[in-house]
């Protein structure tokens, strides 16, 4: 039995060493990524310094052209929107950028499903998966403590390799090739055109919903951090084709009211929301639509924050 336990301890020790070494190799791949999501995550976590920060889901990443917004204002702008992600990731990204310097303005494109509504299964894996390689950062540990299981957090604490769980393929590919059409400013333009005109109203969101306490916690925390540090925070709802604001936006509107945050309802803008040529699908604008909308945002920003900046 003693011999068995001795061998077991020796194996565990070797495992820790191997795990640490392989984890460090993955760190090198991550730091030297040439493109893709690995490059973007690394840039946001360790390099990004910006005056205007865009946060949100795919509607953020496809709708806000930083070159248009910053060109109109003369300040730097970075689009940190991420497909299928919401406030849990948004808060972490904001906090990691703020470690270097707080942005002057943060625009959150609201997507109720991802930002504060309970989703089936209540699984936050897709939100926190991007953050695992940065577990050594305090803000990431804070998010993981709130959004992940205790067991998962123990694995993250003990294993360097586990921080790259399910991310090996993009990690290796992104370190070898510069892939994806994400621009250096984070903006991901869409090029398709929605061919068919539709007469139906579209709000894209269900009216019967339940608030997810974990998501809402980070939503409110983002607001509080911005308020505490003098960051001008704006909630925006970018255009949806023939869209109308549904009941599910109410929690965001109430939060905006509570903290005195501007709420820009642009879901149905004349000249944009009724023009199918500016959309790739019902809820995502293409490059042309994004340009028109971004010009509108730049104008609104100039009116609100021009003097402060």
């Amino acid at each position: 039995m003693k011999f068995f336990l001795k061998k077991l301890c020796m194996f565990m020790l070797l495992l820790f060493v191997a795990d640490f070494a392989v984890g460090k190799v993955f760190d090198v791949f991550r730091i030297h990524a040439k493109g893709g999501s690995t490059y973007q995550n690394e840039y946001i976590a360790n390099k990004c310094i910006t005056d205007i920060l865009i946060l949100g889901s795919s509607r953020a990443s496809h709708h806000y052209d930083p070159s248009v917004i910053s060109g109109g204002l003369g300040f730097s702008c970075y689009n940190a929107g991420k497909d299928g992600c919401g406030m849990i990731l948004d808060y972490a990204r904001f906090a990691m950028i703020a470690e270097r310097r707080y942005p002057k303005v943060v625009i959150c494109d609201i997507a109720p499903n991802f930002d504060y509504i309970v989703e089936k299964g209540k699984d936050y894996t897709k939100y926190i998966g991007q953050l695992k390689p940065y577990y050594e950062k305090e803000v990431v540990r804070e998010v993981m403590d709130g959004a992940s299981t205790a067991e998962n957090n123990i694995f993250l604490r003990l294993s360097h390799v586990y921080r790259y769980n399910s991310r090996i393929m993009p990690l290796i590919v992104d370190s070898l090739v510069s892939r994806g059409n994400t621009k250096p400013d984070g903006y991901l333009p869409l090029f398709g055109v929605m061919e068919t005109e539709s007469s139906s109203k579209n709000n894209g969101k269900k009216d019967d919903y339940q608030i997810d306490s974990v998501k809402f916690f980070f939503f409110e925390k983002l607001v509080q951090e911005c308020k505490k540090n003098g960051v001008t925070l704006i909630f925006a709802v970018s255009p949806i084709y023939r869209g109308e604001l549904s009941e599910s936006y109410r929690p965001a509107m109430e939060l905006a009211q509570k903290y005195n945050i501007p709420f820009w309802n642009c879901i149905n803008v004349e000249g944009i929301s009724d023009d199918n040529k500016l959309f790739q699908d019902m809820t995502h604008m293409n490059k042309d639509g994004a340009k028109v909308y971004s010009e509108m945002i730049a104008m609104k920003l100039k009116n609100i924050v021009g003097n402060q900046m």
């Binding site: 039995m1 011999f3 068995f4 061998k7 077991l8 194996f11 070797l14 495992l15 191997a18 795990d19 392989v22 894996t125 299981t149 067991e151 998962n152 123990i154 694995f155 294993s159 390799v161 586990y162 790259y164 769980n165 399910s166 090996i168 393929m169 993009p170």
Partner: protein, 469 residues
Amino acid sequence: MNYISLKFLIIFSGIFACYWMLPQKVRNFYLLVVSYILYMLWKPTFAITLLLVTMVTYLGARLVAQIEDARPRKLMITVFVLFSLAPLVLFKYSGFINKNISSLLARLGWSVGMPTLEWAVPIGISFFTFQAIGYLLDVYHRRCEVETNVVTYGLFVSFFPQITSGPISTAGELMPQLKSFREFSYTQAVQGLRCVLLGVFLKTVIADRAGIYVDTVFDNFMKFSGVNCFIASVTYSVQIYTDFFGYSLIAIGISKLLGINLINNFNRPYLADSVTDFWRRWHISLTRWLKNHVYIPLGGSRCSKMRNYLNIMVTFLVSGIWHGANWTFIVWGILHGMCQVIERFFGLQKSSQNKIVRFVRVIITFLVVNFAWSVFRSPDMSTAYKFLRQIFTGYKGLSVDLTGFDTLVYMVVGVFILLMYELSREYKFVVVDKILSTEYSRFVVYLMLVILVLAIGVLDGSSFIYVMF
């Protein structure tokens, strides 16, 4: 309790330490208490059913053993077997029976609603019921001695590594081990850890990865091409094998760490060259149970050909019913029965010595088993039919949707390692044994497997498929 969790690792470390520190005479009682506590963690009331089946079969065996006359002995065994089966039928099959009767009566214009207990099915009830009944029948047929020690017998039925998903042990192989002196063996413990590691690898790296893709396609198969549906069906075949094999290995490994050897439940089933051969390699403990307690009592192969075919069909009908209360399981069982009857009719149940013929037969057998798994996985026969039809007719210019393909890439890494391991065992690749001959090289392989589990395993606590049986 999920065996692939840090929680179980910590708990089992404690169980292991206490077990080997205790004197031999209390170890069985200790394991019995631990087994019941772990079982009750699923739901405390489940233990009532487990206790009931245990006591009925314990008393039944003791009574039957005392009766010498054939007729009363047969009557007694029939009564006790039916009593032992009652909870299984009540919990697992009453809903299915009710639904079908109600459906039939509804066609006659009668409306009947009866309460069911499907929602309260105790975990592993099919496994521990068959294990207990197997013991009862072995005593009846005088294949083993009756066990008078209630602690030993209680442990035989409830032994925690195997209670939820097998293997189904016989009294002849497990009881002597429970009654004998168990000394800690370094070799056995290392084998145990190796089995656990391999089991965790199969489950997290292959089965759970495959499951992500399978669920994506199966839940929405009409939106995918025939090629995608076929890939999903093959992936499901991989998933169910590695899930069940992985669990079995973990159960075997944990048992070895406690000084007990369980039967190996799988023997490279997808390298079978006939469906008959497949069932000698797949879920070996269940096949053995069905052979000993259904097939042979019906006459086995020692009868006319037609009677033999009937015996095979009945056996696999029982197998299908055992797996679940749904027509899909019954049809799946019947399909396997039919394939074996056809093989016997054409003399194909015997292996060929010709390598090319054997290779072709392995591929065909896999395809047949694969399509049967698609029926097995479907929620109902209508969906099974539509899914299989989609495979054959859903060609969108042979297009392949790449949704979920990244998860398949991770799975392929695991499948490649498994394939190399299985082929080396099947065809006795000496080079693999040479590579694993030194302790140093074995350590390296074990480290690689753990690193792979950490890097590409699904570690979010998903459950095993066969737990639902």
